[in-house]
């Protein structure tokens, strides 16, 4: 065994030991009165406020979405920016943006005819599955404030449908449907939608991302429903960026930045 492994084991055991010692003071599993779930008697903790009041505030039944997109909307916006920045970092590292123009060989749409029967099964199955996956992704995005889901989850599912196309035939087939320029545009548009909602609120003389003032624009019954609809818009923006960047990460990593051939 190498010397560094011994040191690593010592460090890990010390860290784990300290943590396990600290764990003995933690509340037990599933305790509804633990400090994370409940405040001291007589006052209300943040998470209790979210459960009891957020439906009145926002008319969004999915409390996770209302906390994510409204109460912590600023956080979520910069989370989307983190995704965007990660995508840009991958472009910068693997160097596919601004490089020499790559002549893309226009091949036949399907290479099933070359006698490789396994590709027929895989290709047909994926061709049948992809529309279903995409419809489900749109459902997860659009229904995200009524059921489990939202922009991040739906965006990842939508990106997965493009990745399935790339896996079942080749990367070019997926890039014909969502080209490099288009997914970069999509990523930018997503951020702009999110930030645009915030700026729009500022223009209407309220705080950044305070959706309640959008009521006259969205023609809703009250400021609560305006919040609900704005959350849907914001989630769509998140979904755009997540779809684009997840597909971009796959496309760049699988082709080593050349965006050709792929796996």
């Amino acid at each position: 065994m190498r010397l560094s492994s011994i040191f690593a084991i010592i460090a890990v055991v010390i860290t784990g030991g300290i943590l396990l010692y600290g764990v003995s003071d933690f509340p037990s599993f599933g305790d509804p009165k633990s400090p994370a779930n409940a405040a001291v008697p007589g006052s209300e903790s943040v998470s209790q406020y979210f459960i009891t009041k957020s439906y009145k505030d926002t008319k969004v039944p999915n409390l996770v979405t209302s906390v994510l997109a409204d109460y912590r909307g600023y956080d979520t916006m910069f989370e989307t920016v983190v995704i965007f920045a990660a995508g840009m970092a991958i472009f910068a590292i693997l160097g596919s943006v601004g490089g020499e123009s790559q002549p893309r060989v226009q091949e036949e749409e399907s290479s099933f005819v070359d006698g490789d029967h396994s590709r027929i099964i895989v290709g047909t199955t994926c061709r049948l599955l992809v529309p279903v996956i995409q419809v489900f992704a749109l459902y997860v995005i659009g229904h995200g404030h009524y059921s489990p889901g939202g922009g991040f989850q739906g965006g990842v599912i939508l990106a997965a449908s493009f990745i399935i196309i790339a896996l079942s035939s080749d990367l070019d087939a997926a890039l014909r449907r969502l080209s490099e320029v288009n997914y970069l545009r999509l990523a930018c548009v997503g951020i702009l939608i999110y930030a645009g909602f915030g700026v729009l609120c500022q223009v209407l003389e309220s705080n950044f991302l305070d959706y309640g003032v959008l009521q006259p624009i969205l023609l809703t019954d009250g400021p609560e429903m305006a919040r609900s609809h704005s959350m849907l818009g914001v989630e769509i923006g998140v979904a755009f960026t997540v779809t684009a960047i997840m597909f971009a990460i796959y496309a760049n990593l699988s082709s080593r930045g050349t965006l050709r051939d792929g796996l």
Binding site: A11, T15, S47, I51, P61, V64, A86, F152
Partner: protein, 158 residues
């Protein structure tokens, strides 16, 4: 031994599992020689933290933090029970007439925070993999000691 099991391990078994998972990840990060294995260790580490936070929001006998605006399931349950008090109270809280009892729903805040952590984890993993790919292109190896030797020796030979 039985006393230790009942008083220390059993109420906190979830935290023990996360600490052990975290130790596995940390060990892989420090001791493994291969860069991809280090990244796997990083992911295990992140998973341990995410599980830890999600388990903090768990409440016994609580449901997911989503109100049912139509209340169909709860209507049916209330009718089946025939209970005026408990069933109706629950139904009213679910359809938003009354504010729900915080103890009947899992804590949504850790879920939101961990959604952030998962997304950031994916982003960092993507960037880390692309850096790894460039390292392999540059040095022709993913083993840490081989890369260090090449760096100390003054760069790539060819």
């Amino acid at each position: 031994m039985a006393e230790f099991f009942e008083q220390t391990l059993q109420p906190h078994f979830n935290f023990w599992i996360y600490v052990i998972l975290m130790m596995i990840g940390l060990w892989a990060l420090i001791a493994k020689n291969n860069l991809i294995k280090k990244l796997i260790g990083m992911s295990i580490f992140q998973t341990a933290i995410i599980l830890f936070y999600v388990s903090l929001g768990v409440k016994e006998d609580a449901t997911i933090p989503i109100l049912d605006p139509y209340g169909q399931a709860e209507h049916a349950a209330a009718d089946a029970e025939g209970a005026e008090t408990e069933g109706e109270k629950k139904r009213d809280s679910y359809i938003g007439k009354k504010s729900p009892d915080p103890d009947t729903m899992a804590n949504p805040l850790p879920h939101v925070l961990m959604l952030t952590a998962i997304v950031v984890g994916v982003a960092t993993l993507g960037v880390a993999l692309s850096i790894t790919q460039m390292i392999f292109k540059e040095f022709g190896s993913l083993e840490e000691d081989e890369i260090l030797e090449i760096v100390k020796g003054g760069g790539v030979d060819d």
